[in-house]
């Protein structure tokens, strides 16, 4: 059994943030799985990385830009073609709690 890094409470929180609905048995299963994965990755801590700059990217490329030139956009019909619902050129979504 791996050490517990992720509690079931953590899993519920992550599920909420990811908008995933999980049953209690699933929560228990994912907690076990995640702990196993993180436990495995823990091994990396054995390596001394003090003198190594953190890497955020696998590509050793810098400064890739595009020029500020307009390119054709999609048509409104194309933009909405994957939308489950549309109305008056807009994406139609369940009501958002009125913010103001």
């Amino acid at each position: 059994m791996s050490p517990e890094i992720v509690s079931e409470k953590h899993v519920r929180h992550i599920a909420l943030l990811s908008r995933l609905e999980c049953s209690d048995p699933e929560i228990r299963k994912f907690a076990g799985d995640l702990n196993a994965i993180l436990g495995y990755v823990e091994k990396l801590k054995e390596i001394d990385t003090d003198a190594i700059e953190p890497t955020t990217h696998a590509l050793r490329l810098t400064n890739v830009f595009r020029e500020d030139v307009v390119r054709p956009s999609l048509t409104n019909a194309q933009a909405l073609s994957n939308a489950p619902e549309a109305e008056a050129g807009h994406f139609k979504v369940p009501p958002i709690i009125q913010e103001s």
Binding site: H13, L17, R19, T56, H57, L59, L61, T62, N63, V64, F65, R66, E67, D68, V69, V70, R71, S73, L74, T75, N76, A79, L80, N82, E85, E87, A88, G89, H90, F91, K92, V93, P94, P95, I96, I97, Q98, E99, S100
Partner: protein, 481 residues
Amino acid sequence: MKYETIIGFEVHVELSTNTKVFCGCSTVFGQPPNTQVCPVCLGLPGSLPVLNRKALDLSLRTAVALNCRINRQCQFERKNYYYPDLPKNYQISQLRQNLGVDGFLDIPIGDGSEQKRIRIHNIHLEEDAGKNVHPENAAADCSLVDLNRTGTPLLEIVSEPDIRGADEAMAYMQALKNLLEYIQVSDCNMHEGRLRFEVNISHRLAGETELPSFRSEIKNLGSMKSAVRCIEYEAKRQTRALDRGETLGRDTRLWDDETGRSQAMRSKESAHDYRYFPEPDLVELDIENDWIERVRAELPELPAAKKARFIERYGLPEYDAGVLTASRPLAEYYEQVVAAHDNPKAASNWIMTELLRELNEREIEARESPVAPEHLGKMIRMIDAKTISGKIAKDVFAEMLAGGGDPERIVQDKGWVQVTDSGQVETWVDEAIRANPGPASDYGQGKDRAMGFLVGQVMRLSQGKANPGLVNELIKKRLRP
């Protein structure tokens, strides 16, 4: 008890680029919904963002103008949250390595002759979200989303909590807007939401130096006026609570301009866990010193430098120079008036008193003035040449405000040319003296105050056309020979 209001600002400004920050869609405002979108800004699978060089350039210009230290290896990160106006479910923003840090902006305080330094915590580049439309009809039971704005380059300027009270807050907002307009990174059109404010506000007892542990973050401030109203409202709300001995916490509130109140968002709505992490779809940045130096060298004249030049070049009082350089369009207008006729102080007087009142009333900028700067210059030349009196000039100015155009034509059409012919003026003077023997003899016996009355009578007889200097001279000659 006496409290001090402590304010920090988060200002969002949309940059004036042709295209979005990570794709080639246009950023033009007011187009039909969802017609300026592509797979990148819609967050479709497989699409990849590429940074707009101009957006970074304008951000750098702002960071330099705000005296920030530039993070050469600044980094984009993903800020994760779900909201329908954010199709990727994350916003590309910055957190740990912001583009600019530790800057400052000097703002005028009091009567404008003193300055206060407001520290800038950081400046970072991110992408704007789309727009949610809530149908008027509540029964519609849906929201509509327009993603045209999604991905517009958005610069966030975060100040330190150095601002005290509503007046300083107003000065900060105006100075910042002015700077952003000067350096032409944004048109700051607030009607189009190009410049938006959020305030962090708390209170402490006067004399305390520690920052309070509580603070309210207020969103949804669409204008400077709303921001000021909101600050005044919060000052009342918070100090009342403190007076009652309540413990305040940190909360996020929404301002409602209609009711003039702020409302706490439910903690569920404001409790965020953004899980920032470095954006893997964008390669790293390494902003070379040459680039930063080039941006610095290309920086246009900033408000403080322009003010100093106005004092030096035009011999204006500090106050005038401050007012005239408080907005770039106004400063340009002034220089055009002076270019048309070289009387800097008269130009300043006309703009500061007559023109600004009208512009403020109509809530328009100098560039939209109904009086063209060359026409104002021409009118001042006519005053200096004694073609018209200062009094008539006010009528001419009113005509120009009403769209009358060329002052020369107005004066001709109305027959307002000043009369400097002493024969004609003498007739009016004699008539005035005859009709007002009392004041005339008063003046003759040394009562200087009677002069004003007599001059007024002559001006009335001449319908304002008599040259006032000449009138004075002739009355004196008649009554105190």
